[in-house]
Amino acid sequence: MTVRTYKYRGQALVTKGGSNISRSVTDAMTLDDEAIAVGFKVASDPMTFAETAAFTIEGNESSITDTLVLEETAVGFVQPSGTDSFFDELEFVETILALPYADASDDMDLTDTAEAQVPISRSQNDPMALQDEVIPRFFILNKSIEDDLTFIDSAGRIQEYSVSDLLDLEDLIPFLGADVLSLVDVVEWGYSKDIEDELTLSEDIIANVDLNKGVLEDLGLTDSLGYYYESPCFRYERNDFHGSGGEAPTVNAVEYSNKFSITSLEDGTIIQLRNPETDDTRRVAFDRVNRNLFDGTPDIYADPNGAVERTQLYTIVATKRDTLDELWDFLQVNLGLQVIIKDWKGVSWLSIITNPGEMYVEDQEGYWTLAFEVVGVRTGQEYVVEGVDLTEEISLAGSIYNKPVVDDSDPESNFDLDDDADFTIESP
């Protein structure tokens, strides 16, 4: 079964203006007129232009469209140091004449721009004269006239200057809290207008927080002071009186409760030895004032405070080696220096080590005998090495009888205590 098609054509019913049928008149005219001046030339660019669009109106045609586009550009390159002038005059007249029974609509859009990019010393003139008229002819009573004139004339100057607007803002939130900071800083600048832009910003954030942190500060404070028993007479003393005549001093019991100690006044080092052994000796060399009476009878002067002895030779027996070494180092370091020796009877001597000992003998294995020699005077106070009983009266300067000449009415104590605890709380 076969079908052949020899011709296939169609027809379309269209209203006026169909395919290949032109019933309108289009009159588009573009005019480009340029006058370019370079250097010191003066450019004059007068342009006269007239456009007419004629239509043959048929049948029900009743409108005329006349679009006129005109663009005129005059470009001049002006030398900065020159005195060239630059004028751009544009005159434009558009007229639409409509036949009777037709509407006349005359829309004229005119834009006249004179733009100059020039140094500051240049002036810029942009006069624009615009006249828009709607003239009705063959006036019919039922027709209305509308004439809208919109006119915009702007003369502006564009100059580029640098505008520096530095805004430095720092917003800190040290810990917790919410901080919203909104800052707008606008700098506007216009020619011949000073610009100041001061922005003051102050924002406080107060947050009450529980740190749950403890601040611990160990205040290590050590204050050392030497103090003396006000009266050494708390100690019983040995009766050192020898001889006859006079009134015998009271016999007092001797206490041997104190440990033998030597305290360095240079660095505060303290050497303490055990309580005395029976073989511990102290040979005391002292000066005794002997006086002869007029008849030649010697008179022994007895000082109830005891002789002011000068030389003491201490012999310590049964000393263990570590104690021996410690004492030996001390004697070596403080040789010739002032030390305070507190003997077994609790008597304090302000002494100078004169001989640290020439030979130390190991009497039996692990036990040594040593001897050293000092010279010194007995202090009027008892140097307290160990802890002080709170019932005992102490003073900084010692006995009121032996205090240095100072004003004790207002004892000075340059003891300042400042305790600062700096701590840093880290953000969570």
Partner: protein, 366 residues
């Protein structure tokens, strides 16, 4: 609006085509009953657009020539009261040398019936451009209503029946309304077959001038009475310009199907052929850029060469197909399937845009 009839004389051929070719072509159009149409020809319609118009030849004195186009049966009246309302238009050019002197008129249009011309709406003109309208109610003349030696577009909206059955007439010439009578005896009785005739030659005395016709349309305004005239219009050709998809038919030569069937004058030497049921060809058309589009008519000049009967579907397609089915029978020879489309395939009114978007199609089934 439903397109009933469309004729722009764009499918007959070139200016060399004689009236016999026009007549022969019209005889191939199943929906057209052609009259004598002797010696009509085609001319450029003088609008500088390359399309064609029908020219009535110089007629001997006393001779009559007419080219009759029948209205499809569906639109023919059944009773006076139910007669359909007609809107039609055409372009008409009248010579000043028709030998029709002032005071006399020569008919150029008649709404015809199967009986005598008496009482039918008729238009007549003379060498002065005067126009005369005649119906059963009588004559009405309009001085200088026509342009002479130039084209006029004439439109009529009427109901050809008695005033008692709603008979009325609206007549416009070149956009100017000359007659608007809502109570008019156009025809007193109904007729079973109707059409219209483009005529010349009746009552001619002398002269060598010619008349011409173009851009004929007949539409049904779908019940909206006293309206529907389209105004000044054109009928433009829709020519296949490219092969689209599908492209099933077999070309007799070459590979471009559209190039073998796009001619103005029928050439049976080249063709496209469908031999398999379902063969479908789509073609793109040259762009048309009118102001508005009212309707589309497609003519497919074809012949069944083998087999018994089949169906040829003529249509348009924009992604949706809209087809009209024609029965083809072997032995009928060359026939023209003429399909009219009042809307685009999507059912929307035609616009220039959707017209350019369609493909024209032909599909064959057994």
């Amino acid at each position: 609006m439903t397109l009933v009839y469309l004729e722009g004389f764009e499918t007959y051929g070139t200016t060399s085509t004689s009236g016999s070719d026009v007549e022969a072509y019209l005889e191939k159009v199943a929906t057209v009953d052609n009259g004598t149409a002797n010696n009509v020809g085609l001319i450029d319609n003088d609008q500088a657009d390359g399309t064609y118009a029908l020219i009535m030849p110089t007629t001997p004195v006393g001779q009559l020539f007419d080219c009759t186009f029948s209205v499809p049966a569906a639109y023919r009246s059944a009773t006076n009261g139910s007669h359909w309302e007609v809107a039609l238009g055409f372009r008409f050019k009248h010579s000043t040398d028709m030998g029709v002197t002032s005071g006399t008129y020569q008919n150029f249009f008649r709404w015809a019936t199967n009986t005598s011309a008496s009482g039918n709406p008729t238009l007549a003109s003379n060498d002065n451009g005067d126009l005369r309208y005649t119906d059963n109610a009588g004559n009405t003349t309009y001085s200088s209503a026509l342009n002479t030696d130039d084209w006029n577009w004439i439109e009529m909206n009427f109901k050809p029946t008695s005033s008692g059955n709603g008979g009325f007439i609206i007549l416009k010439v070149n956009g100017t309304e000359l007659l608007n009578d809502n109570s008019r005896n156009i025809l007193q009785t109904f007729f079973t077959s109707e059409g219209f005739a483009l005529i010349q030659g009746q009552d001619r005395d002398s002269g060598s001038g010619e008349t011409a016709f173009d851009d004929i349309y007949v539409i049904d305004v779908d019940g909206v009475q006293h309206t529907g005239l389209l105004g000044d219009h054109r009928i433009v050709p829709m020519i296949p310009a490219s092969d689209a998809t599908p492209n099933d038919w077999t070309p007799s030569t070459g590979s471009d199907n559209y190039a073998l069937i796009d001619e103005a004058e029928t050439d049976t030497g080249d063709y496209v052929e469908a031999s398999t049921s379902g063969d479908d060809d789509h073609y793109g058309i040259t762009a048309i850029t009118p102001l508005t589009v009212e309707g589309v008519q497609i003519d497919v000049d074809h012949e069944m060469t083998d087999g018994t009967t089949g169906s040829l579907f003529v249509g348009t397609d924009n992604g949706t197909a809209d087809e009209v089915e024609f029965t083809t029978t072997n032995g009928d020879g060359e026939v023209v399937a003429r399909a009219q489309f009042s809307q685009d395939p999507s059912g929307n009114d035609w616009t220039p845009t959707n017209l350019d978007n369609i493909e024209i199609t032909q599909r064959f089934t057994e």
